[in-house]
Amino acid sequence: MPTETAEKKTIVLGTIGCDAHIVGATILAHALREAGFNVIHLGAIVSQEEFVNAAKETAADAICVSSVYGMGLLDCEGFKEKLVEAGLGHVKLYIGGLLTATELTWEETERRFKKLGFDRVYPPGTMPDRPIADLKKDLAAKTGRSSK
């Protein structure tokens, strides 16, 4: 019999780089827990390595990155590659917040983050129910990997 913790999908969450703005990530953490996820909230100022290590140790199913200070593109460069290198290429990668401080259109912003390896990219003002619905869909669709 799998235990309750083993059945729950595990989400690692935090604000990346030097971003100390924690409110958005914390609200999302509450909402995810209420929706039945096992949430590992790493808090503010989380480096790429900390996300990778946390995901590895907890066998995370997805990583939700928050970035509110406009440096998201810079902070996320090479992140997906590190996950792949750590054997975590299968982990779903989401990001949301105020993603760029430049005048990029939303379409261009989304395109750039997808190019960096993110599966889902959310614009400012996104409510938690949207990523929650996406997580449920994406993680249900994930097949095959026995390891947890």
Binding site: A6, G43, N53, A54, K56, E57, T58, A59
Partner: protein, 484 residues
């Protein structure tokens, strides 16, 4: 009739005994004799016991026989442990902290999947116990499973403590046991990423030490005479530190504190403190254990005297030698390499004492720097944010020194001062202005032992015999750490 308790430490070099009168709450005497590891530990113990005195007379055999006895041991290499985890900074670090807190000596640390080379190395290193962790509860299962499988088929024949992802506890135990290994399963050292849980693993390691390892080290005969050897020696010092900080029953402690222990082979730092940030910082990294012990295996004033010079440089050792010694004419490299080969060296003149002080100061400076947390400034587009890693010990009110140098060197408060906050390294969170205490009678570890019998008296004795240094002594005349 006097109620005397004998506190014994079977060390690898010396067997030490402290005689305590519980009724009068006093330390009667302290004696030591070379350990007889090769033959029978009992001989060394009896030699030491003969040297015990009470009111200037030898304590007679009948009294010794009647006295209650408590013992700890670090003989035959101490409690040598290999820690295995998944991510170096997470479960491996948690396992290492559990091991050090149990008084173990880490002889190997391995992260991720063990390969053939790792197993080969593990088989070669003399080791008493393996602590196997990996994965938070409900987290990664593959790695600990893999490691159990390869360890099971290895030639290693020591007890295993399994303290990993509880989801695979049963499987890991079966894997190891199917190949005849002895296994104890306990709670995960890191059940959740933000929850360090080292106590269950610590007590499990201690249990195995008492029930199995003591026998394997030829201490049986001594144990028949003395009763159970209840803990590894380093754990006794950590217990004393905790007792001294927290108090016991109605007897108040001294509050959060740090104990600095300088030895011939290692320098050990114990902090009993939450280490919360005083600087309004974002705190990162693995949660810190309240009672934390770190062991610096490269810093010791005999075996590792030459290593200290290698690490900090000749110049800095010279600068840390207090007083007016003519350092230019000193051959520090030659002398320390002599010390490393003659570990029983006892300082005979002023110069020897001063060099010991210089070496110990450097060892303490580096060891406390490694133990204490750091704060880093991070520049964000909006503001500077302080990020803290590890414990903030700047506000500690009490700093204690223990170990041979504090007992024998008349100016050993100089060594303690090296543990203080250094204005030239403001990001290292060392204690800023604590009261300084010295364990002049070298009894602190004994009080950790005695706490198993009577914590209140143990605490009163520790407080009674620690010597408080006057503030005038706190002025740092060397270079380096300057209290602010």
């Amino acid at each position: 009739m006097d109620d005397i308790v004998l506190l014994v430490d079977f060390g690898s070099t010396y067997t030490k005994v402290i005689a305590v009168d519980l009724d009068k709450e006093e330390v009667l005497s302290r004696a030591q004799s070379p350990s007889t590891v090769q033959d029978n530990m009992l001989i060394g113990l009896q030699n030491a016991l003969k040297k015990l005195t009470m009111r200037e007379r030898q304590i007679d055999d009948a009294t010794i026989k009647r006295s209650r006895k408590l013992a700890c041991s670090s003989a035959a290499g101490g409690l040598r442990l290999i820690a295995i985890g998944l991510v170096p900074e997470l479960t491996l670090e948690a396992a290492r902290r559990a091991a050090l807190g149990a008084g173990a000596k880490l002889v190997g640390s391995y992260a991720h999947e063990l390969n053939d080379d790792d197993i080969h190395k593990i088989e070669q290193v003399p080791c008493d116990i393996v602590l196997l962790s990996g994965g938070t509860d409900g987290g990664n299962k593959d790695v600990i499973r893999h490691n159990a499988r390869v360890l099971a088929t290895s030639g290693l024949n020591v007890p295993f403590v399994v303290a990993g992802n509880r989801v695979v506890n049963g499987e890991v135990k079966r894997l190891l046991e199917s190949n005849g290994k002895y296994v104890e399963v306990t709670e995960n050292v890191l059940p959740e990423l933000d929850k360090l849980n080292v106590e269950p693993a610590r007590s499990c390691i201690r249990e195995i030490f008492m029930r199995r390892i003591v026998h394997a080290k030829g201490l049986d005969k001594a144990q028949e005479y003395i009763g159970e050897i209840i803990m590894p020696t380093p754990m006794a010092t950590l217990k004393a530190a905790q007792l001294l900080a927290d108090g016991s029953g109605s007897e108040p402690g001294l509050g959060e504190l740090m104990v600095v222990e300088v030895g011939g082979a290692t320098t050990n730092i114990h902090s009993v403190a939450k280490g919360y940030s005083g600087a309004c910082a974002v705190v990162k990294g693995l949660p810190e254990p309240y009672a934390k012990r770190t062991v610096e295996g490269d810093l010791g004033i005999r075996y590792n005297a030459a290593t200290i010079v290698n690490i900090v440089g000749e110049q800095r050792v010279s600068c840390n030698i207090p007083g007016k010694l003519d350092c230019a004419s000193l051959d520090l490299v030659g002398f320390t390499s002599y010390l490393s080969k003659n570990v029983g060296f006892v300082p005979a003149n002023e110069q020897d004492f001063l060099i010991d002080l210089g070496l110990a100061r450097c060892a303490v400076e580096v060891a406390v720097e490694r133990h204490a947390g750091i704060v880093k400034e991070m520049w964000t587009p909006h503001e500077v944010v302080n990020v803290q890693y590890g414990k903030d010990l700047t506000q500690l009110r009490t700093l204690v020194g223990t170990g041979g140098i504090f007992a024998y060197n008349p100016r050993s408060e100089k060594v303690l001062e090296a543990a203080l906050f250094d204005a030239s390294k403001p990001f290292s969170l060392k204690p800023k202005s604590p009261d300084l205490y010295i364990d002049r009678r070298y009894i602190l570890y004994g009080m950790g032992l005695l706490s198993a019998l009577d914590p209140v008296i143990a605490l009163r004795l520790a407080k009674k015999y620690l010597v408080k240094m006057q503030p005038s002594h706190c002025l740092n005349q060397g270079t380096g750490s300057q209290p602010t």
